[in-house]
Subunit: 413 residues, 2 copies
């Protein structure tokens, strides 16, 4: 049996036609764009005669009944919202993959042992509402009720009013109601486009995800030196915040390379760095810098080690340069490790098996967090995501979808 | 014979009393504060029966006649203006030193062979008018007449109107008139407080200046990489402007250390450094940085070499990090090398001879530029200069003044 790639092609075309605005895709979370995508999926599910339901916060569940309806089922999911002016595949590919797997099973006349559901998840992107994992977090009663007051980024109206306008129930979030029971879900599977260039560069159509990287971030790191005259201060007498910061960041790059060589998963980024525009000058030794250190890894232990290395280096380099680093606290989100057995099975189903960590967050992180064995498969995608140029081709999508449908058929074996 | 340190003490007290405003000193260039200082010096010169004159742009010349009045004379000079809320010694110490040398000669009954003049120079600091070396540059007809339109920083009135209000003649600048003939000046000598911590740290009262450092500055250096997702981009695929800039700056520090170890004079400063506030983010690999490289040396050759090293490193590191550096052109001011014979003589007159470069600019640079043999002696000073806390003690001043008066007496020998 094969996934129904013709259905996929038709759904991607419908999604693009309904939600493209100018060059890019606009499927605004809890707005008209996201709803249009939900309507397309719901209509396809109806045509396939799947059982359809919508939960209190708008997640759409489309189920192919199994022979043992009381047994915990399998869930295939992803989100249907996009970023403003995003691409057609980020999120939607996972929902489409679920539907073409179910269509493939139907076409092959297979009745699965347990229910297999495709879940079209609401609000995964945090572009319109600055709330992480609205649909999946809300389904497990994990959202902070305070999020109901968060304004929509473009029109300022609250998340609560958006829910009400769509006909959903803010009470579910206010009461932290659990809409999905983890004990009823045997496994969660998510197909998603890769959002980096790795598969393109390696010439591979798909990859199994090892973990969704966590992040430990020094959001407000600072270095305090002393301003001085650039001409009159010898090196020995400087308390140069720029020189010290450069030394620290250079050291941290060498730490990264060391971990990389040892085979550890790690990315280290300084996305913001600045002297003080109010006080700096071309002819002044800098008395202060501010910067952000973003440390991500599929391993919480690796992140902890690198954070400790940064603190130790800041102390040592601070002494050497006669400055004081204040790295501050880190804001932490832990890594979400994918299920080892599911990973191994998916690897076995790829002709050219390859594993990699996911640097971006996905709903799968929430399912893993509540204890559901979860797995992800990445599809090659050109030009990154979150932009109008993202490009996934259907052959690659078929390779990943084929692994997915085979996993469903063999499950549990 | 000895310099008249009692006179110096009295003059510093008078200067402080007349020009202190709050904690700091305010001797605004071509304003009431600078004029008060000129009046004090002029009055002291009158009491010593020196010949006194004021040139077309307000420089005050106080002359002890020599026995050969037609021979080129010796000039001791410095400026009397300050920065806003500056200290009592920056500039004024050199004029006071000249007067106490002449007073010492008078007291010892010495008539010098050639005229010895003390020149109280106008407007050396560029705080109120953004014009370099107004008094000394103007005396040699070197100022761009366009400077007459430069506004005073606090009240916006033009430099020309300030000249007129003081009773001076803007025509001298407009016509680039030469008010001093370099051929009539045998040597220029300037005593000045050190504006860095070197003499304090070394426990030395005074130093002979080797040269006034020049400066080659990359004012608008930039690095162009490519913005990307900090989580999804492996090191191998990044075009990280911050990482590349850190690598370049770290390399340039190692270049500095190499020159330092080889005994070359060099200071290297990055006073401004920033990612783009409009586009950077904690979770984005940085696509751009802007920074300033300030390279100073007593040797023009050293500056040229270090500029070439920066360009070569930017090319090489740019390739390595897949980014493009645009360092742009440098704005250059050449080093002003002090006269070798005068330096050697001054060194011979110090009990603990020590030579160092001047990182800040001084009027001596202008005199050297027009071909007059020039020399400078630095006096130890605590807490740097250009602030209310600058502190020079009279014992150190006496050490330097003694070398100065002896040089005058022995000149030419």
């Amino acid at each position: 049996m094969e996934p129904d790639i013709e259905l996929a092609a038709a759904l991607f075309a419908d999604l693009g036609a309904a939600t493209r605005k100018g060059r890019g895709i606009v499927r605004d979370s809890y707005g008209a764009g996201e709803q249009a995508a939900h309507d397309i999926m719901r209509s396809a599910a109806g045509a396939m005669d799947l059982e359809v339901s919508v939960d209190a916060i708008g997640n759409l569940m489309m189920t192919l009944p199994g022979s043992e309806r009381d047994a915990p089922g399998l869930l295939i999911g992803s989100h249907l919202d996009s970023v403003p002016q995003g691409g057609n595949f980020d999120g939607a590919a996972g929902v489409v993959a679920g539907l073409c797997a179910l269509s493939g099973l139907r076409q092959a006349g297979i009745v699965p042992r347990v229910d297999i559901s495709v879940m079209a998840i609401r609000g995964e992107e945090s572009s319109w509402f600055d709330i992480s994992y609205i649909g999946s977090g809300g389904a497990f009663g994990l959202l902070d009720p305070a999020c109901l007051a968060v304004p929509r980024s473009d029109n300022g109206r609250s998340f609560e009013s958006a829910l009400l306008e769509c006909g959903f129930d803010p009470g579910a979030i206010r009461e932290r109601r659990r809409l999905l029971d983890p004990a009823r879900i045997r496994a969660y599977l998510e197909l998603h486009i890769e959002q980096g260039p790795t598969l393109v560069e390696m010439g591979l159509p798909a990859a199994v995800v090892t973990a969704i990287r966590g992040c430990q971030r020094f959001r407000n790191a600072r270095c305090f030196g002393r301003y001085g005259h650039s001409g009159t201060l010898s090196r020995a007498y400087r308390q140069d915040a720029v020189a010290a910061t450069v030394a620290l960041l250079h050291h941290m790059e060498s730490v990264w390379i060391r971990y990389e060589r040892a085979g550890a998963d790690l990315v280290f980024t300084v996305g913001e760095l600045s002297t003080d525009p109010a006080l700096h000058a071309p002819s002044k030794v800098a008395g202060e810098t501010r910067f952000v250190l973003d440390i991500r890894s599929a391993s919480d232990a690796t992140m902890r080690e690198v954070v400790a290395e940064a603190r130790a280096a800041a102390k040592c380099i601070g002494d050497e340069y006669r400055v004081r680093f204040e790295l501050g606290d880190t804001s932490d989100s832990p890594a979400a490790v994918m299920d080892t057995r599911l990973r191994a099975r998916l690897m076995g189903l790829l002709d050219r098996p390859f594993e990699m960590a996911s640097g971006a967050g996905h709903d799968a992180a929430v399912f893993a967090k509540v204890g559901i064995p979860s797995a992800m498969i990445f599809v090659r995608n050109e030009n990154g995501s979150h932009n109008a140029d993202e490009t996934m081709n259907l052959e690659d999508f078929a390779v990943a979808s084929r692994a997915l449908i085979r996993l469903l058929v063999e499950f549990p074996c």
